[in-house]
Amino acid sequence: MTPTQSSTSGYIEMVKRSLIATVIAFFLFLPTLGIKTSASGGVTGLFLQYRWTLLAVGCGLIFIGRMAIEIFGQKHEGQPKAAKAPSALNVFFGSSKVAKAVGPLLLAFAIVFPFLPFSDRYILDLGILIITYVMLGWGLQIVVGLAGLLDLGYVAFYAVGAYSYALLSIHFGFGFWLCLPLAGVLAATWGVVLGFPVLRLRGDYLAIVTLAFGEIIRIILLNWRSFTGGSNGISSIPRPSFFGLPFNQEPGGFAATFGLEYSTSQRIIFLYFLILALAIFTFFVTARLRRLPIGRAWEALREDEIACRSLGINTVNTKLSAFAIGAMFGGFAGSFFAAKQAFVSPESFNFMESATILAIVVLGGMSSQLGVVFSAIAMVGGVELLRQLQFLKVLFGPDFDPSQLRLLLFGLAMILMMLWRPRGLVSTRTPTVFLKDEKAVSAAMISQGRG
């Protein structure tokens, strides 16, 4: 067979496979996109409304998408995985020089961000949310990324931190800066309390137990009404002040002291810098920990637990320290959350939160702090952005609500990630110590840990 013949028959095969996919999609879309029950129109009861255009668009997209996968996916076929050229992202972030340049640039942007012209209250709130998730991501990265322990209940420590601040400040009148370390200590204690019985479990079992622990904390918060206020939560939590200066219109307030005009945005900007400072603190501590013996032991634990024991490493203590330190940063973030909202309720600490934080870590790459920043921006900021897809109204008519598509597009993005970057945005790892030159280790070598 000549090459031309084979490529022609190859294309026919491709079209055939794409058509099969389209036919399957047609039957799947028929009840979901093609038919809609409607109650309006002056008729009593429900009647069916057919949306053939939408169905055709859906099937067309599937056909084009499948063809694209066939054409672009084909290039890699038959090649061994290791021979694949390193992707641009890995080359970009894998080299420590670039990473060292990108970090300060991001930080500089984060510092000037509140003063940019487009930064209104909504944008600033989103910024605070993103940085909170970056901080949570860095905390969880210690447990999942470095130590390789799959923790599905991380939000429990976030909750412990939030309620610690809420209860301590309401009952004892403690200020934010006193509550912050206390919240961290309490969360770390819970990390050890949880860790001790479950760390003998591995993999799926560990994941299930941590998931259950997260739910237990939430349900306790929900049902222990006398202590936590149950589903009503705790409201009117004191807000943090600027070194004793409250953000209000009183003569002793922040604005009056500095001779500024009072504005509510001052408090938001303060909160923004507060979480930024906490996140930077988290960054430096976790980056430093990783290069210390304890951090190396976490990574060694992920690589091979038995070998660790043969080298005299106390694996129980090592795992517990990973759990406790990860939990501590969750506690810090939780205490900030309570201070920012001035209200906490168990609703804020459901499993979706744990899943989001875990997704940020997995998406970012298990051992890249920079990757977590980008994935938090994508996961939190991107999902917010999807609310704004007004242009879709042109396609689907004015009644169409783009925010409904949010989760669908989010799911699609996750599937694409699974296909093209299964080890996260930045999948290489930087060695913790080097002799001559620091070379990134490719993802193919790194084991992901079995819990």
């Binding site: 430093r288 091979d304 038995i306 080298l311 490493i313 070598m445």
Partner: protein, 266 residues
């Protein structure tokens, strides 16, 4: 002869009804290479796992004596404690390096307990205190020494999984030596090596025996390695010790010939 480094007395290990190791006794001496050989399923690795704490023996005593006469009852100790305080290091039949970490990192992790103490359990390390920096430097120099010794210094910053098989075997031995052991246990160190690599391994083991004041206990199938470097050979078959002596003595022992080649009917 002086007091043995390791004294195994009536070691027995049962898995349910199966007796994998049956009342085996032997000694290992400092600055000696002691080889444990035997057909497949003879209980060599089981005995090994008992000594290094990965199994709890059903019965028997395993006593390790340091040169300052401190005694350790290994059968009562947890596996990581055996390496940490009794100073017994081991390698594995299927190589267990930290593949995603560099050669240097592998050798640094072996010095975890030393570095942990130097970093005051992370406190001094966080602030990068001079005492920690010094310890880090010493640890790095030791790693460098072992890399030079096994000849892989130029690959120090490559991930361990990227090394050729023979280098991985020797790196695992170097990693075990970085824990400063008094007893080095090697589980089939020559498995999968070509003749030239076996030769290099022999030289390495001999130099470790002669210069590092350790006892070496090894399990091996490769008779060229066993016969050439062992000072003392122990033969196991069906969980029992059937012979014990120098390489030449064991080679000529009828019981050993029977175990390996079967009974000759006459």
């Amino acid at each position: 002869m002086s007091q043995p480094l390791l004294s195994v007395n009536q070691l027995t290990m049962r898995f349910g009804g199966l007796t994998a190791v049956d009342a085996v006794s032997f000694d290992v001496h400092r600055n000696h290479i002691t080889a444990v050989i035997g057909p497949n399923g003879a209980g060599k690795t089981t005995a090994f796992n008992c000594i290094t704490g990965f199994y709890k023996p059903t019965d028997g005593q395993i006593v390790l004596t340091h040169s300052d006469d401190r005694e350790f009852k290994l059968e009562e100790m947890e596996d990581f404690k055996i390496s940490q305080t009794a100073k017994v290091a081991r390698t594995f039949q299927n190589i267990r390096l930290f593949g995603g970490m560099t050669v240097l990192e592998n050798l640094m992790i072996a010095q975890h307990n030393y570095l942990m103490k130097a970093s005051l359990y992370t406190l001094a390390g966080i602030f990068n205190m001079p005492s920690y920096q010094r310890a880090q430097k010493i640890a790095k120099e030791k790693a460098q020494f072992w890399m030079d010794r096994i000849g892989i210094t130029d690959r120090a910053d490559d991930p361990a999984a990227a090394l050729p098989y023979g280098d991985q075997r020797r790196l695992e031995i170097a990693r075990a030596m970085c824990t400063d052991p008094v007893l080095l246990c090697l589980d089939e160190p020559a498995a999968g090596l070509n003749p030239r690599e076996s030769e290099e391994l022999n030289a390495l083991l001999r130099s470790i025996r002669d210069t590092n004041n350790v006892g070496v206990l090894l399990i091996e199938h490769d008779m060229s390695v066993v016969m050439e470097i062992s000072d003392h050979v122990i033969v196991l078959d069906y969980g029992r010790k059937i012979s014990d002596g120098t390489a030449t003595e064991v080679r000529n022992d009828p019981a050993v010939i029977k175990a390996y080649l079967g009974v000759v009917e006459d």
